[in-house]
């Protein structure tokens, strides 16, 4: 199980989702993706993305100057 740390600080929509999709392509089921961004639109966007791709939106944390979103990769075909 690997963790993909994705830093999207300073990028605005669609930057963080682009970074998320690129990391997802390399990940396997069971891996975690930790996306750090400061665009507020990223949380609802990532939630919708997880819902539709059947990946697990684990948590989102506001650390003051950034948002940290944790996603568990569960949606990939076996």
């Amino acid at each position: 199980m690997a963790t993909f740390n994705v830093n999207s600080i300073g990028t605005a929509c669609p930057g963080p989702i682009t970074d998320l999709i690129r990391a997802y392509k390399k990940a396997q089921n069971g891996d975690m993706i930790v996306l750090v961004a400061n665009d507020p639109g990223v949380v609802p966007d990532a939630k919708i993305w997880c819902e539709r791709t059947r990946n697990e939106f684990v948590s989102s944390k506001d650390t003051g100057d950034s948002l940290e979103i944790t996603i568990k990769v569960t949606g990939k075909k076996a």
Binding site: A12, G15, I21, Y24, D45, G75, K77
Partner: protein, 402 residues
């Protein structure tokens, strides 16, 4: 007598970014070049350049590929030494480059990398055999027109096959232009057009998505969002997503994910996929203040498009000139995007934003379409630096930050 050592500027890539940078430098440093205080060398083995936005016209309107090509020697400023060789090694610490197959070190004082991005079929098994694209070159784009000319009915799948890719609106444009083509031909009801995208909406930026969603509905273009293309089976004519969903097609014109020039992969100044790590405002490469990257090859989180490459080239060129002349001015790129999106039937919208301003909502209009056409007319001259007054007038405070 005071001896001044010649400052050598090397630019890699004679596309949109490399050409405007070399033109800007050669024009403004003409005296220094004449006095042999400065030299500018441009490296690229291509002897012909292509107007890449024209690939859409070639693919979906049957424009002759020769109409969008221009010989490089007609575009390069006489003050620039053109070397028709590709670069295969860049050593930033020791300030030299090597061209393919040569063991000669060519040293530089300033370096600008503008080697663009190109389709990477390796990332999607089966895609190469199954697909025709309008991102590789003009001749390949014309194969699409040959194919659509013979279509009487069936399902065409277009869209984003993977990220990143250049010209974000172009997959949407292909859907609109196909709709126009088959409508004019009178067989639109027999042809299904399906657009796929890995994003959660039809266009990645919400404001533009809101503008084009109704067009998709009105023109009966189907859209499938959050679709991550994984593999393509050319025999079964079927795409499979990372999540295991399948999608049948009769004709496939997907935009493949893109890659950088080979020599950038694995270098200390590129990210793991080979995109060059630069400061998003002054475009210097990570810890090197004499080396820069511009255009599609950077890791900047904005669209990979020609207008951006142009504005970045102006910033970098201006800063190199300032450094040579010892002024302490430092120009910055504002992150300005200006991608046109043709919506068919002589209308277009633009994707306009900066690092500080989100993408605007611009309704499609004939006026926008005309603006796009004007850009096409002035494209080659603009790379020679003939239209900077117009760029300055048009982009105002977004032209650069000083």
């Amino acid at each position: 007598m005071k001896v001044i050592r010649m400052k050598k500027i090397a630019i890699i890539g004679s596309g949109a970014g490399g050409l405007i940078t070399s033109s800007k430098l050669a024009k403004e440093l003409s005296k220094e070049i004449k006095n042999e205080e400065v030299s500018i060398t441009l490296y690229d083995k291509k002897t012909e350049q292509e107007f890449q936005p024209g690939y859409l016209e070639v693919a979906f309107r049957g424009t002759d590929p020769s109409k969008i090509k221009k010989r490089v020697n007609k575009l390069v400023n006489p003050g620039v030494n053109m070397v028709y060789e590709n670069v295969e090694k860049v050593d930033l610490a020791n300030r030299y480059i090597r061209t393919e197959g040569s063991d000669k070190n060519r040293d530089f004082d300033y370096l600008v990398i503008s080697t663009g991005a190109s389709p990477d079929y390796e990332q999607i098994p089966g895609l190469k055999e199954a697909n025709r694209d309008f991102h590789t070159n003009a001749d390949k784009s014309s194969l699409i027109y040959n194919e659509i000319s013979n279509i009487k009915s069936g399902k065409i799948v277009v869209g984003i096959g993977g990220l990143p890719y250049k010209c974000p609106p172009s997959p949407n444009e292909s859907a609109f232009m196909l709709d126009e083509y088959f409508t004019r031909k009178g067989i639109r009801d027999k042809v299904e057009i399906v657009y796929v995208t890995p994003f959660t909406r039809i266009y990645s930026a919400e404001s533009i998505s809101e503008v084009i969603e109704p067009i998709y509905k009105n023109r009966s273009i189907e859209s499938i969002t959050t679709f991550n293309t994984d593999t393509v089976d050319p025999e079964k004519k079927e795409i499979t997503s990372l999540e295991g969903e399948t999608l049948k097609y009769d004709h496939l014109f997907l935009t493949p994910p893109h890659k950088t020039a080979g020599f950038l992969k694995g270098s200390e100044y590129s990210d793991e996929d080979g995109w060059v790590k630069v400061d998003k405002k002054d475009l210097h490469i990570t810890t090197y203040d004499n080396a820069f990257a511009i255009g599609d090859t950077t890791n900047i989180p904005i669209s990979k498009a020609g207008v951006e490459a142009h504005l970045e080239g102006i910033v970098v060129g201006s800063n190199i000139i300032g450094d040579i002349r010892g002024t302490d001015k430092n120009y910055k790129f504002t992150g300005r995007t200006q991608c046109s999106m043709e919506t068919g039937f002589h209308k277009a919208t633009f994707v306009v934003g900066t690092y500080d301003r989100p993408v605007e909502k611009i309704e499609p209009s004939r006026m926008n379409y005309m603006e796009k056409k004007v850009m096409e007319e002035i494209y080659w001259s603009s790379l020679r630096g003939h239209y900077e007054w117009l760029f300055k007038y048009h982009f105002k405070e977004d032209y650069f930050q000083d």
